[in-house]
Symmetry: C2
Subunit: 313 residues, 2 copies
């Protein structure tokens, strides 16, 4: 394993697949995970522990997690929406559990039928459950502040609300905090300001992550702004998989291969081999012919004389 300057988490198997129409076969999911791990990706969000009747795409969550957990050097992340999901995830051997908490009350009520405060209380129960595993080797719990940069229902989300929820999640037992631009409303100025505020409140040394969408084209600019604000962990999806169902034709998450290109071209090591990563697009496209893949570097090719900082071993 080589040293890296930023950690990129592939979330296409969760945030991307939850919106696709067709079920991606388990073997294809596992091939995708293996191929990205072989390209040097060290953290992959592989599934969501939601009832299969709600999102059939994740009916094979246990199998996919078991496959990912068996890959040396890879950390598998799973999303859980509630305590029951967290129990299932831990029983299935999850090592890193991501819990979205909507800062927007409107979004929280619509999404999980709980107020934000009730969702934070739920998070505390998950933290207690995780700690009941004992400290040695227990799962890590990530509190993700959804709609942190705005909400398509509520509109503006107050920055003080984000800070308050982030502090509450840390106090409730989070091992890391993530700020998520769930609907692609963020701008670089806001990103810098909000990450500075939240880091000042939860502690500069506390682990913090950024999750951006590219719905309005600012995904990479926002990632750059977050990097400048000290963030070193970023979510993204291969081919930008994950278009928002409420914005037809609009692209989805930040594109992993473009994000890797941006950082590597800046001399910031991702540990990811960009040529191998781009080749994984074919794997995904073959398994999901209906899905629209985005991205620039895969079409334009690397610059002549380009020297990436990272080459996977």
């Amino acid at each position: 394993m080589h040293a890296v300057d930023v950690s990129i988490t592939e979330v296409g198997l969760r945030d991307g697949l939850q919106n696709t129409k067709s079920f991606m076969p388990t073997a294809a999911k596992n091939a995708w995970i293996s191929a990205e791990a072989a390209a040097g990706v060290r953290q992959i969000e592989v599934c969501s522990f939601v009832p299969a009747k709600l999102i059939p795409q994740f009916a094979d969550a246990e199998e996919v997690l078991a496959h990912a957990n068996a890959i040396p050097g890879l950390t598998a992340v799973v999303l859980v929406p509630n305590l029951r999901g967290c129990e299932r995830a831990l029983e299935s051997g999850a090592r890193r559990v991501m819990v979205p908490i909507s800062v927007s009350e409107a979004h929280s009520l619509s999404n999980v039928r709980k107020t934000t405060a009730e969702a934070v209380e739920d998070f505390r129960r998950m933290a207690d459950l995780v700690r009941s595993q004992g400290q040695a080797g227990r799962a890590q719990l990530v509190g993700a502040c959804s709609t942190a940069f705005g909400c398509s229902m509520q509109g503006v989300v107050a920055e003080d609300d984000v800070v308050r929820v982030a502090v509450a999640l840390r106090q409730a037992g989070a091992d890391a905090i993530s700020l998520a631009d769930t609907v692609g409303y963020a701008n670089p100025e806001q990103v810098k300001r909000l990450f500075h505020k939240v880091r000042a409140a939860i502690g500069e040394d506390f682990h913090i992550e950024a999750h951006f969408h590219n719905t309005r084209g600012l995904g990479l600019a926002n990632a750059l702004a977050a990097f400048e604000a000290g963030v070193r962990s970023f979510d993204s999806t291969l081919g930008g998989l994950g278009g928002c169902p409420f914005a037809p034709g609009a692209s989805g998450n930040v594109v992993t291969e473009d994000l890797v290109f941006m950082f590597e071209s800046m001399g910031v090591r991702t540990g990811i081999d960009i040529d191998k990563l781009i080749a994984v697009r074919n794997t995904v496209f073959t398994a999901l012919p209906d899905a629209e893949l985005y991205g620039h570097i895969s079409k334009a090719g690397l610059p002549k004389g380009f020297q990436p900082r990272s080459r996977a071993a």
Copy 2:
């Protein structure tokens, strides 16, 4: 006229149209210029004074320039490749003349069959010609360092070469310097570093502009980096018109409406009404049905509760 924080120059009629297959009728060009001016765009690069047999698209350069010059509050910019083009432009009433000088020798020889040093000498003759008009109300001359961030023929372009050419252009009589990422190779770290170096060499108060392509997806991130390095003037094209013929499927220039959205969402005034600007896409698309238009904000729509800083009067 309201105050602005950044100046955005629409270059779609020149950098965009020079690569399109079909001729855009003069009336459509003029309608495009009028509509963008009405949306609050104050500077538009309207044509290139090259021989019509080389680029038939610009056979109507005089007519288009005359139309643009008649619009109150609008500064029309024209590109000229050489002294003869500069003479024609001045005779046609050009008020702002942009001259690209390739820092890459390979690109310069291929493009204008001159070494970079010979092109700088040509530029000096243009500066003398402009000054022979007298100081009062004479045309402004912009020296644009092409391939400043890399070249698809030469690969890496040394930063010292860019600084040297920028200084030579200023000494030769440029009123402004532009750094252009002609082939979409730039990254944000390089953008900051190079603009700082060039500004230190030509003077922090000397007018400097940025011209980015979005070929590899970093256009807006590079614009953000340039803004952070003190740049306040940016080129872009409506719908990102201007795909590179050497990178099929890859997008072209930075998208004007996305650039305006980025700045306005950051609270940086462009003076441009983004709704009116987006509506101009239809004008262009109707006149150029073959052209591929890019962009995010036109598809995704403005965020709920979005408050742009600028509303055109």
